[in-house]
């Protein structure tokens, strides 16, 4: 048996990253054109009453690079080559000028990204765990009362709009705070006094703000994967090698954990990337309801202000996140299924 080595995995990761770059670049081109066609950021200025002097409009156009043709603007946005002001060119880490006053898109988005990442991360972990647990229980107790109840709740969760559930959970949290003496935070990602806290208090503050939004995203995200987990577990449980494992006299616990679950997890891992993407979209809405200053509100604000470069920044970040989640899923595949090799 050859010794396990990390090298082929690294090569695989590198190759995957290289192949996704064209897809990402194509995606940015496509969205750039769409965003560009969708609206003119200076529309209000052009038709303002009383009329704004032409020179002002010219200056705005120049500031937002609207004086250049679309394709040139895309090239500029991507590479920053041919720019004299030095504020654009995403490959150089410059995100372009914003229509929202003196906001620096790069700085703003990285701050907000960390906040949203907390929510998306927690939601993904919890909804995947819930999905695996309910899916396995449903499969093992197929057609029992438990299975039927879980299936019903799964369908219900699939049908529930995120914002409805979010508003409901928020109001329920407020009710619990008033009547049961709990201490859930219902507004914001941290308290206003967060910057003055230390160590443990800081941590608890973050956790208390996370509970309700995470619960929302967890409940809206777990159901689809739970169904897949159930189907995949059922298939495995009915297979010959599980019968063999039982015939060998292995205890039920070992059969389930080592033989059945491990194999049944494989198809579900592919969906993990989907969960991240779902949690991200869910976060846009959940953050609005719970008033988080995260990526969600960043996006809605950017749209409201016709801030094309800020919108692009969000889409690039979302795309990269989904691509990375896909990569992680593929790597986990290899951990779960020894037949898969990276060469």
């Amino acid at each position: 048996m050859p010794a396990f080595s990390i090298a082929p995995v690294l090569v695989y990761v590198l190759r995957r990253l290289v192949t996704t770059i064209p897809v990402l670049i194509a995606a940015t081109f496509f969205t750039f054109i769409l965003v560009d066609m969708a609206g003119d950021p200076l529309l209000e200025l052009r038709f303002a009453t009383p009329p704004v002097p032409d020179a002002t409009i010219k200056a705005r156009e120049e500031f937002l690079y609207l004086d250049r043709p679309t394709l040139e603007r895309y090239w500029l946005w991507l590479t920053g080559i041919g720019d004299t002001r030095g504020d654009i060119g995403i490959l150089q880490g410059k995100w372009g000028p914003s229509t929202q006053g003196a906001m620096d898109i790069g700085q703003e988005i990285s701050e907000r990204f960390m906040i949203t990442l907390r929510l998306v991360g927690a939601a993904t972990v919890f909804s995947l765990s819930l999905a695996v647990i309910t899916g396995v229980i449903s499969a093992v107790k197929q057609y029992s009362v438990v299975d039927n109840v879980l299936t019903f709740f799964g369908f219900l969760a699939l049908a529930m709009p995120v914002f409805w559930l979010a508003a409901l959970i928020k109001e329920a949290g407020i009710w619990a705070n008033q009547n049961l003496g709990t201490n859930f935070a219902t507004i914001g990602a941290t308290s206003p006094l967060y910057y003055r806290m230390e160590g443990w208090d800081k941590f608890m503050d973050v956790v208390l703000h996370l509970v309700l939004p995470t619960l929302t995203l967890m409940l809206t995200g777990y159901a689809a994967i739970s169904r897949y987990q159930r189907a995949s577990m059922l298939e495995v449980l009915n297979s010959d090698y599980i019968r063999l494992a039982r015939a060998k006299g292995l205890p039920n616990r070992v059969v389930m954990r080592r033989h059945a679950l491990r194999t049944a997890l494989i198809p579900v891992v592919t969906l993990a990337a989907l969960t991240v993407s779902g949690a991200l979209t869910g976060a846009v809405i959940t953050e609005t309801v719970f008033r988080w200053r995260g990526l969600g509100t960043f996006l809605t604000q950017a749209i409201a202000e016709y801030d094309a470069f800020a919108v692009m920044a969000f889409l690039v970040l979302a795309g990269v996140l989904v691509v990375l989640a896909n990569l992680v899923a593929d790597l986990l595949y290899g951990v779960l299924d020894p037949r898969i090799r990276y060469d």
Partner: protein, 309 residues
């Protein structure tokens, strides 16, 4: 002979015989599909509820005395009562009139998106799967590109930046980006279908590529496409509701279920009917569509037996 059988039959044998008894009757494909669908109790119940909701949304406004606009004679903040079965809002809307209109807009968006996105997706997937090779590679890379971006974000950006959105705009935008998953599924099916004899037979009889794709391959994926369409409707309805909720979808004075929930967000405890009724409608619509899809999946699967296992 019969006696022998009667005595020695087990439950399964009896079932098998009743299965034979059923299959010996001559039936058309459609009859079989309907028979299988009717056996799925939850799906049938869902279909009934769904039809009632469609009637409520499209016929209801013709019969009910209020529409979704503000009327002076409507008292403010009434909980559900005989005059206003769903209650009223602060400014003088009749909630039932609003819910009728909202449901109507929501359903229209769902249906248009289903037509558009399954149409594009099925054609795209069938062409990619049929020609394979370079055509397939390019077409599927495009699908990858669209899938990378979360659909709600994309739709949000477009609907938001174009402003002044109506239900038709919302439907178009969702429909234009909802098809990649359909394309993937159909491509997968076409890849295996194209190798079968009936395609070769069609080609031997002189059928062109277009004819093979649209007359021979696509009809064979109909089952999958129909089931997929139900999922698309459900997703579209949730996306539309989300858009309207964020304020970038259907705009006042028109209304949609998402918009109604958005205005009632803070009234969960003070005026619960404003929050729960539109929410319940979204949930029931999506729930019933999902169950109908489930029933159709079983009904359209030719491998399903005519007897219950």
């Amino acid at each position: 002979m019969t006696d022998n059988l009667e005595n020695g039959t087990t439950a399964t044998q009896l079932q098998l015989r009743s299965a034979e008894a059923i299959t010996t009757e001559e039936r058309t494909q459609l009859q079989m599909v309907i028979a299988r669908f009717l056996r799925h109790k939850v799906a049938v119940a869902s279909l009934t509820v769904f039809i009632l909701i469609v009637l409520f949304a499209f016929v209801g406004p013709l019969l009910w005395k209020y529409d979704h606009n503000i009327y002076r004679e409507i008292p403010a903040n009434q909980p559900p009562n005989w005059d206003h079965p769903f209650g009223t809002t602060q400014v003088g809307h009749d909630l039932m009139g609003q819910v009728m209109r909202g449901t109507q807009q929501t359903l229209k968006v769902g249906f248009v998106v289903a037509l558009l996105s399954t149409g594009i997706g099925a054609t795209w997937g069938a062409i990619a799967g049929y020609y394979r090779g370079r055509v397939d590679a390019v077409m599927m890379r495009i699908v990858d590109v669209i899938i990378v971006i979360p659909i709600l974000a994309l739709v949000l950006v477009l609907a938001g930046l174009t402003r002044g959105t109506t239900w038709w705009n919302v439907a178009l935008i969702i429909g234009l980006f909802g098809w990649p998953s359909t394309a993937r599924v159909v491509r997968g099916m076409v890849l295996s279908l194209r190798e079968q004899e009936f395609v070769e037979a069609a080609r031997a009889m002189g059928a062109g590529d277009g004819r093979i794709i649209f007359r021979h391959l696509l009809p064979n994926t109909a089952g999958v496409i129909i089931v997929d369409a139900t999922l698309v409707i459900a997703t579209a309805i949730l996306v539309e509701a989300g858009l309207s909720f964020l304020g970038f979808g259907i705009q006042v004075p028109d209304t949609s279920l998402g918009l109604l929930i958005q205005t009632a967000q803070t009234a969960v405890f003070t005026r619960p009917w404003l929050f729960y009724i539109p929410g319940a409608f979204v949930i029931i619509i999506v729930l019933t569509i999902n169950f109908i899809g489930d029933g159709l999946r079983d009904a359209l699967d030719p491998k399903q037996q005519m007897i219950r296992r």
